[in-house]
Symmetry: C2
Subunit: 398 residues, 2 copies
């Protein structure tokens, strides 16, 4: 299969590129290196020593014998170049990670909100418009987020994309309909993913594009079998208050002796998936595309749910760390339940990496190993959702 | 009241600006003149001889004694200038018309799709981000479209924005919820308005912005009491295949002896409102804003529904014209019912101008009066939704 990976330099994109290349697929990474450039803005880099793309490509060729092609372009801006690449290379599938993906970053200021909206929506729309203009039947697999659903339900498991509802008609009869699950995003970033869903629904309906939308949980872990083969292939590990996801932040905090910062009561329940399972899910999604004319295929790409304070306790126990309950910089419910259907991937053969089995390795092989590279000052989450919230800084550290 | 009218040079924006100014409000028009510039691209201008903004301002001052201020800027691009204007002028309300509003134009090519998405989404988001950044409590009234609902229902009247549904929980009990009516847009243009709804829902929830979203039907008519006072104040009348809405197109076709082009069977039912009622609805919306912290207030801004072939017959009878059933360039259901709730505006005192009462005046005072300015070649709708559709050109005219 010939596959374009948009955003293939990022935390999920890079291991996905290696995984698909390792399976023998012809992989082209398309990326504007925005994630690396944002490191420069935030003055916080990957904990792991990620290498330049040229070094990554060379190392992968040495290790696997496979070439990965790299095209540096901005999918949200360089439409014509994207179109020409599609027309010339005729990919079978495009995996679309090319969006700004941190909720806190999207809330830092008006400029960050506007960048996230402009970048994410134009990137997604350009890909769709380019596929239509090419006239080719390219399967698009997009990385969405569990956050499109929001974190409250009426008491049923969150389904995979579509919700059966009943409406009462004017003559009093009840009619059953299946609708796109009502969106309830918790940040500007999440909002753009709910708007992406409307792009996909329209292009699937009007142009019969084949589209898979993967509603992913919070990704944890760093290594995959492919990135593990050479240190030059190492994946990103973000620990800072903007890009570090909750579990990685806890691991890092434990490794450097910083208290694990739990926002509010820590009663927020979230969905998780290991990066090893992310890359396998994308493989499975590419091997099982929707039919032409079918509605958007939506799968929940997560394997387990945990309450944040429980996660903190697990990490604190493994790594002998303190927990600090701090202000919640986010505007969200302090406590929520979360029950999620993920039968589609399990039925297609996914065997989840459990937190229980994988967490200790993360502590030793990543967080402790690279702890000397961390800047403590970058750890707390400081972007607040409105002026009503405060940064999540432990006492004595602000 | 101090009011900014974004897109105040356009078909709805200009008469709204005059109407609010006439009521004694302090009106500032913000516009990048994009609609006039698109005339140059399409080589099809307003049937009515609209004047430059400077002439319009001067005429209005002479007629009414009121000043209308004009700021030329691009709301989708010139964020900082917009923010500064809000901070300096502290408007009580902003009326947001600053979007590309023609479905056929949005479907003409990839470039037109991309322009519509980029312009409309960034314009709406910039306004929201600027209001939040200003820290002011500005009421935002946005012009949406009935097209966000789509044109099929499960058998009930389309409600005003929110749909009561029942979901079945895991233990079998039914729970009633009220959700944003599931979006089903029929073009890229309509899709952007469904995405606007998600912007509004998020900013109302997170930042407690006061937002009114007006889901407007197809606007017909040209003159309002204010534009009628001086020919230099005349409003736009678009008759071309991209911007001419169905009723104006029929009126024009009748006036120049061109057959009334009905797409497909003409079985499409649509909602309508006269431009005189549009400006009154906006006045009513500004006088009845939502409370801070309230969800987005959604009103259906339409007064009657008609099937397209019935409209054609009415116009043909009044103006003694022929009807031609032509290919439908749009990808849509050939026939649909449409029943719409519009109680909110009626309860607030709107007295609709009926098609029956107003149509003959349009034929004589606009279409026939300015028929000599029309270019017949620009009349048929040529933008097709996909390669499967064909332009709506009558036999012998293609």
């Amino acid at each position: 299969m010939k596959v374009f990976i948009l955003g293939g330099d990022g935390f999920c994109g890079w291991p996905t590129s290696l995984h698909l290349s390792n399976l023998g697929h012809d992989v082209t990474i398309i990326d504007n290196l925005s994630r690396r450039n944002i490191d420069n803005e935030l003055e916080a880099g990957s904990l792991t020593p990620i290498q330049y793309m040229g070094t990554r490509q060379k190392a992968w060729k040495e290790v696997s014998g496979h070439d990965i092609r790299f095209e540096r372009l901005d999918v949200a801006k360089n439409y014509h170049r994207l179109l020409t690449l599609i027309q010339d290379e005729k990919p079978d599938a495009i995996v679309h990670f090319a969006e700004q993906r941190a909720a806190p970053y999207s809330m830092k200021s008006s400029a960050h909100k506007r960048y996230t909206v402009d970048n994410n929506l134009n990137a997604t729309h350009n890909v769709l418009a380019a596929i239509v203009e090419s006239g080719l039947d390219v399967h698009l697999a997009h990385l969405g987020t569990m956050g499109v659903y929001g974190y409250g339900t009426a008491g049923m498991k969150i389904p995979e994309g579509y919700l059966p509802v009943e409406v009462t008609t004017d003559d009093g009869t009840r009619v059953r309909q299946e609708i796109l699950y009502p969106a309830n995003p918790g940040s500007i970033y999440h909002m753009t993913k709910t708007q992406d869903q409307l792009f996909f629904a329209y292009y699937a309906k009007n142009d019969h594009l084949r589209i898979t939308d993967l509603h992913q949980g919070i990704v944890w872990g760093t290594h995959t079998p492919e990135t593990d083969q050479d240190e030059r292939l190492v994946n990103r590990f973000d620990y800072d208050g903007d890009y570090g996801t909750v579990l990685n932040r806890f691991l890092m905090q434990a490794a450097v002796g910083y208290p694990l910062t739990v926002h509010g009561t820590g009663g927020q329940t979230r969905a998780f998936i290991h990066i090893r399972d992310t890359v396998r899910c994308i493989q499975i999604a590419l091997e099982n595309p929707p039919e032409k004319g079918e509605r958007v295929k939506i799968l929940n790409q997560m394997t387990e749910t945990h309450r944040v304070r429980d996660l903190a306790k697990i990490v604190a126990d493994i790594a002998d760390a303190e927990i600090a309950y701090v202000d919640n910089p986010r505007n969200e419910d302090p406590e929520n339940e979360l029950h999620v259907q993920n039968d589609l991937f399990l039925d297609l053969g996914l065997e989840p990496t459990t937190l229980e089995a994988g967490l200790l390795e993360e502590v030793t092989s990543v967080a402790r190993k690279y702890a000397h590279r961390a800047d403590r000052a970058k750890i707390p989450a400081t972007a607040t959702w409105t002026e009503r919230q405060k940064p999540g800084v432990p006492p004595g550290d602000d």
